[in-house]
């Protein structure tokens, strides 16, 4: 069984899965971005910084609020909505319908893409498929577990 999604261990597992599948990522291409996943949950938010370099996720770390603000963008939502997204990925092998990260951020009512720099926010669009591939890895780590 994979770790709970509101843990750094879960994102480490997604990172490992991505980094073991660079051939699959090659069609999507290199990416350079720093994203922060923010999960609102009882007892305090979880903020995980994800650093993407080339075809790999080069860094996963829990960060504080100030460091989170230095990322290109942050994806912010309640834990339940993040769980909904990952449940859809695990059920279907990849995100479907309105559960893709692009759809979620576009509607912004469950998970929103935030940042204070339009250039950073645009990286969400420039590297969107890389980010989606990263999240879709949840289906594979669930199977592996």
């Amino acid at each position: 069984m994979s770790p709970a999604i509101d843990t750094v261990a879960f994102f480490d597992a997604l990172s490992d899965e991505m980094n073991a599948s660079t051939e699959r990522l090659r069609i999507v291409g290199d990416a350079d971005m720093t994203a922060v996943v923010v999960m609102h949950r009882p007892g305090g938010d979880l903020r995980v910084r994800l650093v993407f370099e080339g075809l790999i996720c080069a860094g996963v770390a829990e960060v504080g609020a100030e460091e989170a603000g230095h990322a290109d963008f942050a994806l912010v939502g309640d834990l339940a909505d993040w769980q909904g997204m990952f449940d859809d990925i695990v059920a279907n092998g990849r995100a479907t319908g309105l559960w893709t990260i692009n759809s979620l951020a576009l509607l912004g009512d469950r998970i929103s893409c935030q940042g204070d720099d339009p250039m950073g926010l645009d990286k969400f669009s420039r590297f969107n498929q890389t980010l989606q591939e990263f999240f879709d890895g949840a289906a594979r780590i669930a199977v592996a577990a």
Binding site: I27, V28, G29, D30, A31, D32, V36, V38, D45, R47, E53, G54, L55, A65, E66, A68, G69, A71, A74, V76, T96, L98, T100, N102, S103, L106, L107, S112, Q114, G115, D116, D117, P118, M119, L121, D122, K123, S125, R126, F127, N128, Q129, Q132
Partner: protein, 376 residues
């Protein structure tokens, strides 16, 4: 700087001065050119990038290149090289600080409209939805190529010392060719075809292609036009009836965002280094915004989008048009935020009806709530 005419190097005096056929030979390149030698750029983990080789004098982009030739920047160039007639001879005319990065990104993230779209998964759609998809694809096939034609119009006028900017624009041209390809293919692939092409889009395209300067053209194309299309692509997930169209929109979205990123940073560089250019940009956008509003409210565009947003004709009024209005709000908000980032605030000047669209100028100006949200 280490040059190749180092006195310690061999003179190669024994080399022949004539070819076997009697033609004169020139060994100057071997005996010592006045260019930098032995810089040994180090490849980054992904390979040898344009950023990696921007070292020593090769990385210096002149503000005002001394020549108008196609000689490569950093080479030992003859004084009598041919003038190519370049008119964009100031770095502020074309440069953006992210040019090299975007070029590498573009090369690394190329895709194929033939191979990378799951055409085999197309499904028969209701008549109204298929028509709406085809109408939107007709429009996009038409407008996307302006983003190829426009750089092509200006590139041969750009000084060759700005080669990285020209290389990036080459990738943009390829991107747009692929976009025209993929939307044309989609229009035909599912039993439909190309539908109406009217005068509205052409007015916008003509405004862009006829811009008087490249920087005005970049403002109209990258910031305004492509920024709006980028938001349509972002919205693609909501308007796409199947995974095939979703995939098309997502792939195009990535490309389009690169073009917008170049334009935003080019305008910023231009304004920072030549403040007089700001008024030129504003004048172009004064007109461009109006033409874009006419384009966005053109009946073919707004109805096709609304029908797709509604999922069909049945809910076009109660669902389609309200969602289309939200899209318009997002488009103008993103556009105004990019203008702020580019250093050409439009908030005091735009004729876009911000009140009507529900856009809060303070949110655009500060944009800080986003970061605070991430930190909360």
């Amino acid at each position: 700087m280490t040059v190749t005419d180092d006195a310690d190097r061999p003179a190669y005096d024994e080399l022949p001065s004539e070819s076997p056929l009697g033609a004169p030979l020139d060994w100057a390149w071997l005996r010592g050119a006045k260019s930098e030698w032995g810089i040994h750029p180090k490849p980054s983990p992904r390979g040898l990038t344009m950023l990696d080789i921007a070292v020593g004098t090769y990385g210096d982009i002149p503000e005002h290149p001394p020549r108008r030739s196609m000689a490569p920047r950093g080479a030992d160039v003859d004084d009598d090289v041919v003038d190519m007639g370049y008119i964009l001879n100031s770095k502020t005319d074309v440069w953006a600080e992210n040019t090299r990065e975007l070029y590498e990104e573009a090369v690394a993230r190329q895709w194929s409209a033939t191979r990378d779209i799951p055409w085999g998964e197309l499904q028969e759609l209701p008549d109204d939805v298929e028509h709406a998809v085809c109408q939107l694809c007709t429009l996009l096939t038409e407008v996307e190529m302006i983003a190829a034609d426009l750089p092509a119009k200006w590139m041969w006028r750009m000084n060759h010392d700005f080669i990285e900017a020209k290389m990036f624009l080459c990738t943009q041209i390829m991107d747009e060719a692929r976009h025209a390809e993929v939307f044309r293919k989609r229009a035909l692939a599912n039993g439909g075809g190309l539908l109406l092409s009217r005068g509205g889009p052409t007015s916008l395209l003509r405004t862009i292609i006829e811009a008087k300067t490249y920087t005005q053209a970049s403002a109209l194309l990258h910031l305004l036009g492509e920024g709006f299309v980028l938001d349509i692509f972002r919205m693609g997930e909501l308007i796409a009836p199947t995974d095939v169209e979703k995939r098309i929109f997502r792939m195009c979205m990535q490309d389009e965002a690169r073009h917008v990123a170049y334009g935003t940073m080019h305008l910023r560089y231009a304004v920072e280094n030549d403040p007089d250019v700001a008024e030129e940009i504003h004048a172009a956008l004064d007109h461009g915004e109006q033409v874009l509003i006419d384009f966005g409210t053109a009946p073919d565009v707004s109805t096709a989008l609304a029908l797709l947003l509604a999922g069909g004709a049945e809910h076009v009024e109660d669902k389609g048009f309200p969602l289309a209005l939200e899209l318009t709000k997002k488009q103008f908000t993103s556009y105004l935020a990019r203008c702020e980032r580019a250093g050409i605030s439009r908030l005091e000047r735009t004729t876009v009806p911000l009140d009507l669209l529900g856009i809060d100028p303070e949110q655009v100006r500060g944009a800080a709530p986003a970061a605070q949200g991430a930190q909360s």
